[in-house]
């Protein structure tokens, strides 16, 4: 049986049976890791450990080891935080919002994207913690009953962050893991070693593929998606409140929530693209993550990128239109002040470069997309840098104006989060299926280029 959609591009290339899908996707889990993988995880682990050592150094000696000062209280730490959180938006956006919109192309990428989300949020979560001057007393931000009868300040956006980020991390984790358990069941049944079988059974919660379970699972997934969708939007909205509710010119802007959310999706998709273009090659998943997928994502990128561009211009307009001299100065300073280079990097990477994606040829060009996605990641980092640093460094009273330069400690911590991210990602691709097996199977019949319903013979999976 062949179902080739006349209008839509197939989501799976090549001739695939269900068994082929299983085998293709499981291959990295089953095979012995290659040299590249070992090199990759070693490097990223070393970087991670160094980053954590620098965190220890900061906690021990104090935030004074960073380049922040009395005027610029947040430097790279919060820039990185917002950047990582932004990246952490793609996964749940893909799996939740695209699920609600019934976009089938999400099935090939949602698993990896969600994993990336979780890792990115973990990286993000590090920064608000370590930027505290007294990390050992950080538990004060939890509203736990205590004999001081003290609670927390529910007016503070930073506290909202605590709730938003934790909720987001937990719900994303749930969503991801609930999607994983059928696939982990699949892996379990393919495993030959007893301990591996047991381990995967443990991980798969004893999944057996019963129709009742599937029925409930689907229902749950839909509701989780329904919950996660506003959650995704809320997280970066609340992160944007960190800035928007303040009084600092350049921060104090009502446009921030939608601007941040679209920026987050923008950067998240870029990061997904960066990773997936490499991963599909490395894990030989080209037939599942097709150029068509890349194009679809590029379309989202151009949409969100344009929203971001409009937001930048709106900000400029509003600064002028408001007539507030501080606002005006803040935006003039961004574009022409000592940090103008950061502003123009941001503008180039985020606003101008995605516009090239209007060309279909470029949209479908993997090399171009890869380079562009890195550009966008850089641009979005600079967006946060511009917001955090240039707004603070020249605020109300000129007497307090200063400049900011990160120290190597801050750089090392930032790199360390990359180490953490990639360490987790490397582990992930070896342990878990990178593509949502059951979901791909469920769309295989309708969306594969060539679907082989019945295998020629009842063959057993390859060893």
């Amino acid at each position: 049986m062949m179902h080739v959609s006349p209008v839509r591009e197939p989501l799976i290339n090549g001739e695939k049976s269900y068994n082929d899908i299983t085998n293709d996707v499981m291959a990295p889990v089953r095979a012995k890791p290659g040299k590249l993988w070992y090199i990759g995880i070693t490097v990223s682990t070393i970087v991670m450990i160094f980053g954590f050592a620098m965190i220890g150094y900061t906690v021990w000696f104090g935030i004074g080891k960073w380049g922040v000062n009395r005027t610029i209280g947040w430097g790279w730490s919060i820039t990185n935080f917002v950047w990582w959180v932004g990246i952490g938006h793609a996964g749940t956006f893909i799996s939740a919002i695209l699920l609600l919109f019934r976009q089938k192309w999400r099935t090939s990428i949602n698993r990896a994207a969600e994993a990336m989300t979780i890792f990115a949020v973990m990286c993000a979560g590090i920064f608000p913690l370590i930027h505290m001057g007294r990390l050992p007393l950080g538990f004060f931000i939890l509203p736990y009953p205590n004999s001081r009868e003290l609670w927390v300040n529910f007016n503070s956006p930073l506290l909202w962050d605590v709730f938003a980020i934790t909720t987001y991390l937990l719900v994303s984790l749930l969503f991801w893991y609930m999607g994983l358990i059928p696939d982990l069941g699949t892996i379990r049944d393919r495993m030959k070693t007893l301990w591996k079988k047991k381990a995967y059974n443990f991980l798969s919660f004893g999944w057996k593929g019963s129709a009742r379970h599937w029925h409930r699972h689907e229902s749950m997934s839909l509701i989780l998606a329904g919950l996660a969708a506003p959650l995704v939007l809320s997280v970066h909205t609340i992160v944007s409140f960190d800035f928007a509710t303040s009084v600092i010119p350049g921060w104090h802007t009502t446009i921030f929530p939608p601007y941040f959310v679209s920026g987050a999706v923008f950067s998240g998709f870029a990061m997904v693209l960066t990773l997936m273009i490499v991963t599909r090659k490395a894990l030989h998943l080209e037939e599942y993550i097709t150029v068509g997928h890349v194009e679809s994502m590029n379309k989202v990128i151009i949409a969100t990128g344009s929203i971001v561009g409009i937001a930048y211009i709106t900000e400029l307009f509003m600064a002028w239109y408001s007539g507030v001299e501080y606002e005006r100065y803040a935006f003039l300073n961004r574009a022409l002040g000592p940090y103008a280079w950061a502003y123009w990097i941001m503008m180039t990477c985020n606003v101008i470069s995605p516009q090239l994606l209007w060309f279909k040829k470029l949209r479908r060009n993997l090399t171009f997309t890869f380079i562009l996605s890195i550009f966008i990641n850089i641009g979005m980092w600079f967006e946060r840098f511009v917001i955090v640093v240039t707004s603070l460094h020249r605020d109300y009273l000129p007497s307090s104006w200063t400049m900011y330069k990160p120290t190597w400690v801050e750089v090392a911590i930032y790199l360390g989060t990359f180490g953490l991210f990639f360490t987790l990602f490397f582990l992930f691709i070896r342990v878990f299926p990178v593509i949502a097996l059951s979901e791909v199977k469920s769309v295989a019949r309708s969306s594969a280029k060539k679907f082989i319903g019945k295998p020629i013979k009842n063959k057993t999976p390859e060893k």
Partner: protein, 173 residues
Amino acid sequence: MRSIIYGHFTDELDLLNAVKELQNKGIKIDDVRTPFPVHGLDSVLKLPRSRLPIAAFIAGAIGGSLGLLFQIWVFTRGWPLVIGGKPFLSLPSFIPVTFELTVLFAAFAMVILFLVRSNLGPGSLPDILDEEVTNDHFQIILTDRNNSASEAELEEALASTGALGVKNIKTDN
């Protein structure tokens, strides 16, 4: 002591037909196991609509109202603090936390209820009859306890739908 009779298909369309066929024969199907959620299977099996959404709603409502009430209590009764010249009860500030708690409670309640209802969880040992069920086998499971028909009849009925590898095993529970 009961008998479990099972067989599998390699195509979900065959499975759907077989399920309908068996149901027409008045045979109650104990379980159907598939590698992915087969579209239309739940309606064929007449599975009742899941009540998880209701549970999620209730849990969400509890989470949200607890969160909101807690915040109100803290700022009006627990220890009223003047913060930024705001009144003690500044409701707009409480929206984010309320929302997050709503989602958190709903999501957790749903997942926990799902696992409990489905008897899934870390360490739960499934009764797997065919390991290919998670790959490309679509399995129908019948049991003589649920059906008045004899084991042999069931076996035959199953085989007649085109099921492959029909087997009968006995268990104690």
